[in-house]
């Protein structure tokens, strides 16, 4: 008794009926492309260990993502590349000496606890890769702070940051005490800091590679300048005022570059408004330097960003744009 339907239906949807053809996976792909120089630099300086760490993190992230979605009986989101990106970012924030099973645990924590528990991409209040890293730093402090010298296997060394920390409290840099002079001697040359020939996490050493990636993201309009600029500028001005190691060394060592360009700009966990982004970047820079100067950890970048992640909803709320024409 059913009436006959016409074979072809038109699609009914609300306007607009045209699209810029942007997509989430394309954005993620862009960030991964932007990370390629950094990854390459990391592999160049830390060798096959870096390759293993990256491979472990990425594959663990992918498997966890797939399993979580299956357990939740939801559509698989492996294709949107966000899990690959989380795995990659986590790997780049680990020392090359990290035991692989710890890297995998960090990756699983990042995806399962910091992301999928909240419902997946777009819902997580904290940057998954950073949450994974902070979790590892607190749980496995030893392996997380063992650094290998670049281009040399299994020679442990302190990072420039650890060396620079006491400088904050040295009386004067121009006429250094013997202790401070020794610390100053451990700061790599500017050239080595730029290309990344210094101890540190796989992805945080090469400032040139990171800046190249940042330029690509800006060109592709994936990120805006607000967060990286505010972050780096705040950290720079802070170290100028606080003294200690040269300000450029504070910027070029440790996680500030990768943090400002790749971690703090994570869409989901940073404010959406331009003003909010500036405040966010400022907060990140300030907290990062405070922890570097006074905290018990040598590096504060991850924690600074995580804390600002927590504040992002409030910043968003208090920086709502004013409508065109509103008083």
């Amino acid at each position: 008794m059913k009436p006959k339907e016409t074979a072809e239906h038109y699609i009914l949807s609300s306007s607009p009926h045209t699209h810029a053809n942007a997509s989430v996976s394309r954005i993620m792909l862009d960030v991964i492309i932007a990370l390629l120089p950094t990854t390459a630099a990391g592999i160049w300086f830390f060798g096959m260990r870096a390759v293993f760490v990256i491979a472990t993190c990425v594959s663990a992230a992918l498997v966890t993502e797939a399993l979580c979605r299956m357990a939740m009986k939801r559509e698989s989101t492996v294709g949107d590349l966000s899990a690959v990106l989380t795995g990659l970012l986590l790997a780049l924030n680990l020392p090359s000496s990290i035991p692989l099973h710890l890297a995998a645990i960090g990756s699983v924590f990042a995806i399962a606890v910091a992301k999928q528990v909240f419902g997946g991409l777009g819902m997580n209040p904290f940057n998954p890769a950073l949450a994974g890293r902070a979790f590892m730093l607190i749980s496995f402090t030893g392996p997380m702070t063992t650094w290998y010298k670049p281009c040399a296997d299994a020679v442990t060394t302190p990072t420039p940051l650890a060396a620079m920390k006491p400088l904050f409290h040295a009386s004067s840099v121009s006429s250094p005490t013997p202790h401070a002079a020794e610390a100053l001697g451990q700061i790599p040359s500017v050239w080595n800091m730029l290309i990344g020939n210094m101890p540190g996490c796989i992805g945080e050493v090469s400032a040139i590679a990171l800046a190249t990636g940042g330029a690509y993201l800006l060109w592709r309009k994936v990120i805006t300048w607000h967060i990286p600029a505010a972050f780096i500028a705040t950290a720079f001005v802070y170290s100028l005022i606080a003294g200690g190691a040269p300000a450029y060394a504070q910027i070029l060592t440790g996680g500030i570059m990768i943090g400002a360009i790749f971690m703090a700009t994570d869409y989901v966990t940073s404010p959406i408004t331009a003003t909010g982004k500036l405040i966010f970047g400022f907060g990140c820079g300030l907290l990062c330097m405070l922890i570097r100067q006074f905290g018990s950890y040598p590096e504060g970048c991850s924690f600074a960003i995580l804390i600002m992640n927590a504040l992002a909803p409030l910043i968003n709320r208090w920086t709502q744009p004013k409508p065109f024409g509103a008083k």
Partner: protein, 463 residues
């Protein structure tokens, strides 16, 4: 008369694919009156006209078949002679139902009805000697409403309250919607009519300065208007706007031309001394006054990659979409989506049996490969919608609030300021239905306000 470049770019906006080349160079063609017309009583913004004919009646071309039903309303005339087949409620493109007169134009003229004399429907007026009231009355009885898309009754707009003075008459020739070229063709082919319309409107508004706003991607239209307005007196300028969607939005055009900002609703452009009229409306006013020809037909662009020969067609109101498509040589490929209007703000329709109205600026037939699918993926907070929003809202927040059924949060985020231009959804990488969410929030807020009003009125009646 000067041609100047707009110095004031509004914040936000997007650059969709314009696809205007499909129909840009097609001269306006007249469509022979089709055999059946479906003339809606709701062709404009405001209360639908009250239908005053019934099935079986014979109506003449130009005869009033729908009376004005309120202050914000417009009368409807028959766009051709014929016999009324039926008066029934039909769906319009926007989804609402309205009375529709189904006219059989092929019916034979009854023996007892003499053919009308071959004169104009209304007596021509000399606009130079006619009073302002006469001119307003003419605009009203010619059934003219804004032809840009919203369809606001023109007679109401041209008659601002005495306390408010009109300083600028802005002629909207931006046509920022993709695909559409109707206004462009009118500017090229009917520039003298537009000029006449402008002069009439100027008289009605007490001689304001005139700004003609055209987007920079229509150099020929700018030339044509420059030529037509070459010897006009007074403060008249052509303002060349940067190519940016939604440049045709009233508020943004006012900002781009005279740098005035219309406050939040319920403020209107007249509150900042501006009146914005579409170029097509200006031509229609010239026809109504000088020729005595009411608004019975309009230029509609039929375009899209599924149409055999895209065209700009002068078609009587009530022409069914199917007849327009037939006139363009039919479908090239089966369309996946049919849109009444442009791709940014038009309405998708489910059938070609709908009749055109005074506001149908375009009919687009898109093949599957031009159509994208919305999804319900979560927002990743990328902020593209925020940067694209010309009203400087936070569409991401509104859309998330509506998803969570939190209309109050959407209202706090100023959703009522949304102009539904679609810029937010256009760039959303998660393909979210942001514009639709805004619409949903606006509709529920309006419904709530109406319910509260009704409640208050009932309470008052009780007392």
């Amino acid at each position: 008369m000067k041609v100047i470049k707009s110095q004031f770019e509004f914040k936000g906006g997007v650059h969709p694919d314009y696809n205007k080349e499909l129909a840009r160079d097609q001269a306006i063609e007249n469509l022979p009156v089709p055999e059946e017309l479906a003339i809606s009583m709701s062709q404009h913004l405001g209360a639908p006209a009250k239908c005053i004919v019934k099935a079986g009646d014979w109506v003449e071309r130009g005869q009033v078949i729908g009376e004005k039903a309120g202050f914000i309303s417009v009368l409807v005339r028959a766009s051709a002679s014929g016999r009324v087949k039926a008066v029934e409620k039909r769906l319009g493109p926007a989804g609402g139902k309205a009375d529709c007169v189904i006219l059989d134009t092929a019916a034979e003229r009854p023996a007892d009805v003499p053919a009308p004399s071959a004169g104009p429907v209304l007596a021509p007026l000399d606009w130079r000697t006619a009073s302002k009231e006469d001119l307003l009355k003419r605009v009203e009885e010619a059934g003219i409403c804004g032809m840009g898309g919203a369809g606001f009754p023109t007679a109401v707009k041209l008659n601002p309250p005495p306390a408010k003075r009109c300083e600028y008459l802005i002629l909207n020739g931006a046509e920022c919607e993709p695909y559409l070229t109707a206004d462009y063709r009118v500017m090229l082919e009917r520039a003298p009519r537009i000029r006449l319309g402008v002069e009439i409107m100027r008289k009605m508004l007490g001689g304001p300065a005139v700004r003609i706003a055209i987007e920079a991607n229509k150099p020929e239209a700018i030339l044509a208007m420059e030529k037509a307005f070459a010897d006009i007196e007074g403060n008249v300028q052509i303002v060349v706007l940067p190519v940016l969607y939604p440049q045709g939005s009233e508020k943004h055009q006012i900002y781009a031309t005279v740098k005035r900002i219309v406050p939040e609703p319920p403020a209107l452009p007249i509150d900042v001394g501006c009146v914005v009229e579409n170029v097509g409306t200006a031509a229609a006013i010239a026809d109504a006054v000088e020729l005595g020809e009411p608004l019975l037909s309009r230029v509609t662009t039929v375009s899209g990659d599924a149409v055999a020969n895209p065209k700009n067609i002068q078609a009587p109101s009530g022409t069914k979409y199917a007849d327009l498509v037939k006139f363009c040589g039919g479908e090239k490929v089966p369309p996946a989506k049919v849109i009444s209007g442009g791709t940014m703000m038009g309405f998708a329709v489910s059938t070609l049996e709908i009749g055109t109205t005074k506001t149908t600026s375009g009919l687009l037939l898109l093949s599957r490969k031009k159509v994208f699918q919305y999804s319900s993926h979560p927002c990743i907070n990328c902020g593209r919608c925020l940067r694209a929003c010309p009203m400087n809202l936070n569409p991401a927040l509104i859309s998330k609030a509506v998803d969570a059924n939190d209309i109050k949060a959407a209202e706090d985020a100023h959703v009522m300021d949304c102009i539904e231009c679609g810029a937010c959804s256009f760039g959303c990488p998660a393909y979210r239905t942001i514009t639709q969410s805004c619409r949903r929030a606006k509709n529920s807020i309006r419904a709530r306000i109406a319910a509260e009003k009704a409640k208050a009125a009932a309470a008052q009646a009780k007392q």
